[in-house]
Symmetry: C2
Subunit: 417 residues, 2 copies
């Protein structure tokens, strides 16, 4: 599909106009229609997915990636159920988020409206196709989907189901558009600020850098998560160990997992126990001199290099540093953090307040795991991604973050003096 | 000043960290200190301004620009008073703007924090130097000021006064930095996303395009204002005429002035009266065929070209088109508007609702002048600019728009299951 053709960009533009005017009832009907269409096309989806999988196997794709690509009957039903779940969420459009009556009687209100067209660039996970399209539709936005070529046939059937459900509710099919673009075509597409209102990358660092480099459309991006856990002098040891293990071990491959442990020197006696617990959970350790000094035999701690402090391991691996104060911890975080999520474990109110005020990341936790940074955990019902950008939205991107606002002034003939 | 030197960028970064931790009391003390320093240096400011003015006169600068550049005793006192007025505004930092208690007891709060470093690029208006610096300081942000070379000596003394007031309150002088950058140096500076968190251009279209082209720092920009006034079939004629004259004539050189008048065909009998009133106020008129047909002798209306519909005249000049419905008006606006401000005059509730829902500009008015799009009029107390961007903020940019937020999670040992 040559997406730079006027027909496609024009279709998305017209769909944006019509979605903006669509009621919540109509948008929810479309979501229920999508669930129905996915169920009806289950066999077709599985067949297309089988062809994508066969090609991927032939290309020597890893088992982990094959698993991400696979849609079986259970996963297809989960997609339909997800569309229904999004329909049941509160409507983010039209909410009144501010306003005042001016002295001259003009009534100003600040009201949420859709952003417009949201381009999502993602890797070979066909569930993202449905999730993202449903969240965009719910929030009155056009979804421009650029998935991976390895799932193109699966995505094509999913998009057909999406468009069928949308059309059944009387909304324009171009509310969801699949963009089969090469990297070069993608660069050209995002190089034109008129093609979408925002780009959300869901993928690795390379993809993010590619978009930040080429896009004239604003990019809502999550830098990788070099997340920190600081154990304060007064940290309760059992809580410290439980949060540490949860934040590092429960799911090490995700962006809200901890990559660096900072330990107050007053906790040095307890550090061997923490290190042993980590090692027992299979965590490779890199430590500074003071951590190395107390590391028990058998944990196999290596000296941390400057590189380690900035590494997002995304694996069972952790850098450990001993600090002499909460301020030193804050300084370390200021220097190495990507601004995603950080946590302190402490019993001291002043340390907690200092940490919360001094650490300028999107999410800052006191006595809780960094793993909570997630739209589902935050109660958003769903998330389209995460942001470490400072403008517009920080942290999990839910439905509200897919809206902007406009000001409405209702008067009775007011003119400016 | 070689701003790309580590000393300067490092100074701003350290100032950002310290401002973030400063209390509202301290920030307000700095603002009062600034007012004092400006008054103490009034003679010095006037002398520097005199040298800038002499050079500008020598370079054949127009009277209008010379006036904008001039600071006399009264204007200098107004600058000091402006700093005091900003100190008296409510504190935008630390406001709780959302939150919830999760089922596991984790308390999430969403709290306003400063954006960081705000680069403002502006033209030769020394009052902007003080206004912008004060708004940034109030909102806990570092101000990076790149003014015009023609006011460089005036700005240098103003910045010295700003830094003096800031230092007197115990805050770092680098909370305000004057950047004497050439266009090429500016391009290099904004090409590094690490140098500031946001850029706000205050100047002509050329400056905006320059920044949009070269900046890797997000740009909060106001497209020019091709603003529309639509007189609906049911518009009350006296109100229509009053709003039309206010929106076009009161101050034609500003971005919230109306550039195109759309008139419902049912109002065609009244159009000659509106056109005569505009012509009497000195407005040059460009009309479509139907408008030309009814234009009274002597108003000198010319045929409107395609160009006229997209023109931001910024002058006593107006394009006029007759439409057959509110939908046709909305379509015209959709096609030609820059998304700044539009207004409808109507007595019909359905027309009003249709217009408000269908027009997707930053500010949409019913029975009021577009001229109200202004931070002062909106009750923000001050504004740093205006935005037609869709992300982060739309419309007037006040103190709240100079903040972002962070999520704080306070727990008692919660881990993710």
């Amino acid at each position: 599909m040559a997406v730079t053709e006027t027909s496609v960009t024009g279709g998305a533009r017209e769909a944006m106009r019509r979605l903006r005017a669509a009621s919540a009832t109509t948008r929810n009907q479309a979501l229920l229609g999508i669930a129905e269409a996915i169920r009806e096309r289950a066999a077709e989806i599985e067949a297309a997915n089988g062809r994508d999988l066969a090609d991927a196997r032939g290309a020597g794709t890893s088992d982990a990636l094959l698993d991400r690509l696979t849609l079986d009957a259970g996963r297809i039903e989960a997609l339909a159920a997800a569309a229904e779940a999004v329909a049941a969420l509160p409507d983010p459009v039209g909410a009144l988020i501010g306003g005042r009556r001016l002295p001259n009687g003009l009534e100003l209100t600040k009201v949420r409206v859709p952003l417009g067209r949201i381009l999502v660039v993602y890797e070979s996970r066909p569930n993202v196709t449905v999730d993202v399209a449903c969240l965009c539709l719910k929030s009155g936005n056009v979804a421009l989907l650029r998935g991976a070529s390895s799932s193109r046939r699966t995505d094509a059937v999913l998009v057909a189901a999406l468009r069928e459900g949308i059309a059944a509710a009387g909304l324009p099919e171009d509310a969801v558009v699949q963009l089969a673009l090469s990297r070069e075509e993608l660069a050209a597409f995002v190089g034109d600020a008129g093609n979408a209102e925002v780009v959300v990358p869901r993928g690795g660092e390379q993809l993010k850098h590619f978009l930040l480099e080429h896009s004239r459309i604003p990019v809502l991006v999550a830098a990788g998560g070099v997340c920190h856990l600081y154990l304060d002098a007064s940290a309760e040891p059992e809580m410290a160990e439980a949060i540490l293990l949860n934040a590092k071990v429960q799911r090490p491959g995700v962006c809200n997992a901890v990559e660096t442990l900072l330990v107050h020197a007053d906790q040095i006696d307890r550090l061997p126990r923490y290190l042993a617990a980590l090692a027992a959970a299979g965590v490779r350790l890199h430590g500074d001199d003071r951590a190395l000094d107390v590391a028990p035999e058998g944990v196999g701690m290596e000296p941390a290099t400057e590189d380690d402090w900035a590494r997002e391991y995304l694996d069972l691996e952790l850098a450990v540093r001993v600090v002499d104060s909460v301020d030193e911890a804050i300084e370390h975080i200021e220097r190495y953090s990507t601004g995603h999520s950080e946590a302190i474990v402490t019993r001291d109110l002043e340390s907690a307040d200092r940490f919360v005020a001094g650490v300028d990341s999107a999410c800052v936790y006191v006595n809780a795991s960094t793993r909570f940074t997630d739209g589902g955990e935050f109660g958003f019902g769903a998330e389209i991604g995460n942001s470490t950008s400072r403008l517009h939205a920080r942290g999990p991107l839910g439905l509200e973050e897919l809206t902007t606002f406009k000001w409405i002034g209702r008067g009775s003939g007011q003119v400016r003096g």
